[in-house]
């Protein structure tokens, strides 16, 4: 029997050896060099096939695939692979002048033909935003491409400029059929960026190593970047706390951010998400078609209190269709501050003095928020029935068949003012089910803001602000709050992600202190 006891004892001994032996951990690095070990709740599943790319495929592939242009902190477009661009609004053309002497990592040239090929791929697959306005693409010379358009607005500079380019040569040589090339490109990416893909395992990790021939002298600082996919926030938090990772991308869990900040980790704040209630106001049979009912809801919500509770002080309560971090923000505009009396009065004006009942469609992520809304609106006579849906039903309703009553939504906040048009413009890209009633005055202001006379977003800003104010006057949507979003990193990591936006990252500028 004693020998029998030896077996578990031996197992325990082996376990102890395994536990304590072979210690891992990060390598010591200097201010330049080293491997940045990142964790992320998303991982690229399509490396270099633009027609099927998701947002995480785009920004997480920025170490390899660079853009023509991108936003600066003020929301202005600044060139990356472009040198500059010329707009001729009368002729409806945009000419992209390209930086010279840049090569893709397969050795082929970055030139106007390569850009034309990339634009054409997007157009052919309906994946170039505003691609429907491109009449033709003209290669003026090796370093200039002219886009002939059927319409022009300042938004096009952003929509076309944010394209991430791949090497046409590498793509075309990767197979004999379109499907072979697509299959290859899903698992391979050849760009002009500061890094190349060294290793990738679907839904697990991707590793980038330094491109020694990168076109920006002296960059990148890091030798490599490794991104591991950890979808569970608790595990991700434990991983970075234990020192098994240097940086955690795009964290929206307030509790994790606060905890890790308290433990001395560094936080980079991003713009967060714009949270709203969207009414089914275009339905003439819905009480929400009546402006006073929408106003009553807005008056009935103590947004600073709810935002303070949900965000533990990190959420910004919203009073207009813009957050204070957004360039279209109208300073001091708060059409409907919290007032239960006003809410009841508006309901009475609308003919619903005895109260109303609405459903709010949300996913499980919005459960707490909807419960708070339910509580506040209950006090002014509006009964809320939460309708917590799985992602299938939610997306199906919000982006497909439409919803009834109210839907709780989150949308991105761009440093530019394109959000207005992406989400709530005359022909939005996201909430396009037609549920939201948009007044002729509001639509006219949106159209005016896109007048070809405005060459960039800053010129159009007065009109954009007027549209924001008009949306507020119409009680078009019910703005709630801006959430917190951040990247969490060890104190020795220096990165700008995601200060400008969740899709903006310049990995060539990231570096680490010796540690």
């Amino acid at each position: 029997m004693k020998k029998l006891l030896l077996v578990p004892a031996a197992l325990i001994l082996v376990c102890i050896l395994v536990f304590t032996g072979c210690g891992g951990g990060g390598e010591a690095t200097g201010a330049s060099g080293g491997t940045l070990r990142c964790i992320s709740g998303a991982i690229p599943n399509n490396l270099g096939y633009p027609p099927e790319k998701a947002p995480s495929d785009n920004f997480l592939m920025l170490p390899v695939l660079e853009r023509l242009a991108e936003w600066d902190e003020g929301g202005n477009m600044i060139p990356v692979l472009a040198e500059s661009w010329d707009v001729d609004a009368d002729a409806m053309t945009i000419t992209w002048n390209l930086k010279q002497s840049i090569k893709f990592t397969d050795g082929s040239d970055w030139n106007a033909e390569a850009l034309r090929w990339n634009f054409q791929l997007g157009i052919d697959n309906n994946r170039l935003t505003d691609g429907q306005y491109v009449e033709s693409l003209e290669v003026v010379n090796a370093h200039a491409l002219k886009m002939h358009l059927t319409a022009f607005s300042w938004m096009m500079i952003e929509n076309y400029g944010l394209i991430q380019v791949i090497s046409p040569t590498a793509f075309e040589n990767s197979g004999t059929t379109a499907e072979e090339r697509a299959t290859w490109a899903r698992a391979n990416a050849v760009g002009t960026g500061p890094f190349t893909v060294a290793d990738w395992k679907r839904d697990d990790h991707i590793k980038f190593v330094k491109n020694p021939n990168y076109w920006q002298e002296g960059l990148p600082y890091l030798d490599a970047i490794e991104i591991r996919y950890i979808p569970d926030a608790m595990v991700a938090a434990a991983t970075i706390e234990a020192g098994d990772a240097d940086m955690w991308f795009a964290v929206s869990s307030v509790q994790n951010i606060i905890d890790l900040q308290d433990k001395g980790l560094k936080i980079n704040w991003g713009p967060g998400m714009f949270i709203t209630l969207l009414p089914d106001s275009s339905n003439p049979d819905s009480p929400l078609a009546i402006k006073e009912v929408r106003e009553a809801i807005e008056y009935g919500l103590d947004r600073p209190a709810i935002a303070g509770m949900l965000g533990q002080g990190l959420y910004e309560p919203l009073h207009q269709m813009a957050s204070s971090t957004w360039p279209g923000y109208v300073e001091g505009y708060d059409p409907r501050p919290y007032s239960q009396d006003m809410a009841r009065e508006k309901l009475t004006q609308a003919g619903f003095s005895t109260g109303l009942t609405f459903k709010i469609l949300a996913t499980s992520a919005g459960t707490d928020a909807v419960a708070a809304i339910q509580s506040y609106l209950g006090e002014v006579g509006i009964t809320i029935e939460p309708d917590i849906a799985d992602l299938g039903r939610y997306f199906g309703a919000v982006f497909g068949t439409g919803w009834s009553d109210l839907v709780y939504t989150a949308s991105g906040i761009n440093p530019s003012a394109t959000d207005l048009f992406i989400h709530y413009g005359p022909s939005p890209m996201t909430f396009r089910t037609g549920n939201i009633l948009k007044s002729p005055e509001y639509l006219a202001l949106c159209a005016e803001a896109l007048d070809p006379m405005y060459k960039n977003v800053m010129e159009a800003m007065p009109k954009i602000k007027a549209a924001i104010r008009q949306a507020g006057e119409d009680a078009m949507i019910i703005p709630l709050w801006r959430t917190a979003e951040a990247s969490i990193m060890q104190t020795y990591v220096h990165s700008n992600y995601p200060k400008i936006h969740g899709i903006m990252w310049s990995p060539e500028d990231d570096w680490m202190d010796a540690h």
């Binding site: 029997m1 309906n126 899903r186 679907r202 697990d204 434990a238 991983t239 299938g392 982006f399 890209m429």
Partner: protein
């Protein structure tokens, strides 16, 4: 014996058909359109007009009547074609080839540890009934049976990963790449997954062994002056194993279920996590294929378990 196996195979085929029908139709009862979910999650809505979504519907055969879809799917399965994932744009067979080895690695280790340690603990607690070892180990088996896998995982991560820093918290490395790192990475997930089966096997083995060692032939063995090792291992253990073997067979199903939780907690790219993400994305083809493969694995293991009864106890005859 051959007739028995043939009959069991026919039963297995019927069960597989029922499983395939259930999986195929139940997942389609979920609200939401898989293509809308896909394009919404990949932010393609901005450039995906309704006619392109319809094109995708045709491409994935979702435009056809549901019975036609089922027949096509089954026909393709018989040809070894599991279909193509809507979300990953990848053949399901490729996805499964990437993921199953990971799950099997963890699962087989857990199964072995669960069986070996469970049987050992069961024998020890039975032979030392009422002694200090029994008093320590038996309550632990109660904890093992009742503790939820995800909670145990979180406790282990906090203790061994964050506080003590002994083990990597998450991820999977192939043992062929780095054996020691792979082993260290696997300690927590494997222990987490085998904890229940250690406890369940121990409980079963203890009661089974207690019953056997009280029988006359064991008493006779003791009276003949045989050593404890010989009495326990030669005479008592084999007869005590039958209920435990049944439990090990059931454990295969539990392992696949447990892999869903363990792979999610420890960020392991196995088939369990693929199944979860495919269910949320309503990636029909992937869910159907994985469920069917798991069903086949469980049926095969249970068939082997049934056949093994005859070896453990020659008195058992197959009718």
């Amino acid at each position: 014996m051959t007739t028995y196996i043939l009959r069991r195979l026919v039963q297995a085929i019927i069960i597989l058909i029922i499983v395939s029908l259930m999986v195929f139709f139940v997942i389609r009862l979920l609200p939401g359109d898989p293509l809308i979910i896909y394009v919404a999650q990949t932010a393609q809505l901005e450039a995906m007009p309704p006619e392109m979504i319809e094109q995708l519907r045709v491409q994935y055969g979702l435009d056809k009547p549901i019975m036609v879809q089922y027949v096509n799917w089954m026909a393709n399965m018989f040809r070894g074609d599991f279909g193509e994932s809507i979300y990953y744009h990848e053949k399901v067979s490729t996805l499964m080839r990437e993921r199953f080895p990971v799950t099997l690695h963890i699962g087989v280790l857990s199964l072995i540890i669960g069986a070996v340690l469970g049987i050992l603990v069961g024998i020890i607690t039975a032979v030392r009934r009422g002694k200090w070892l029994d008093k320590i180990l038996t309550p632990l088996t109660y904890i093992g049976i009742t503790i939820p896998v995800f909670f145990l995982g979180i406790l282990m991560i906090y203790a061994f990963g964050v506080k003590l820093g002994w083990l990597p918290i998450s991820g999977y490395t192939s043992p062929f790449e780095d054996f020691w790192y792979s082993t260290r990475q696997l300690v927590m997930p494997v222990l987490c997954m085998s904890f229940f089966s250690i406890a369940a096997n121990a409980r079963q083995m203890r009661s089974s062994m207690l019953e056997v060692i009280s029988q006359d032939y064991v008493r006779t063995a003791w009276s003949k002056g045989l050593t404890e090792r010989r009495v326990i291992f030669k005479h008592a253990m084999k007869n005590s194993l039958i209920p435990v073997i049944t439990l090990v067979g059931v454990g295969v199903g539990i392992l696949f279920g447990g892999s869903v939780l363990v792979e999610t907690i420890f960020a392991i790219p196995g088939v369990g996590r693929l199944l979860v993400s495919s269910i949320f994305g309503q990636d029909y083809v992937v869910v159907q294929a994985i469920t069917l493969v798991i069903a086949v694995a469980i049926l095969v293991v249970n068939l082997l378990v049934d056949i093994s009864y005859g070896w453990f106890d020659p008195r058992i005859r197959y009718g």
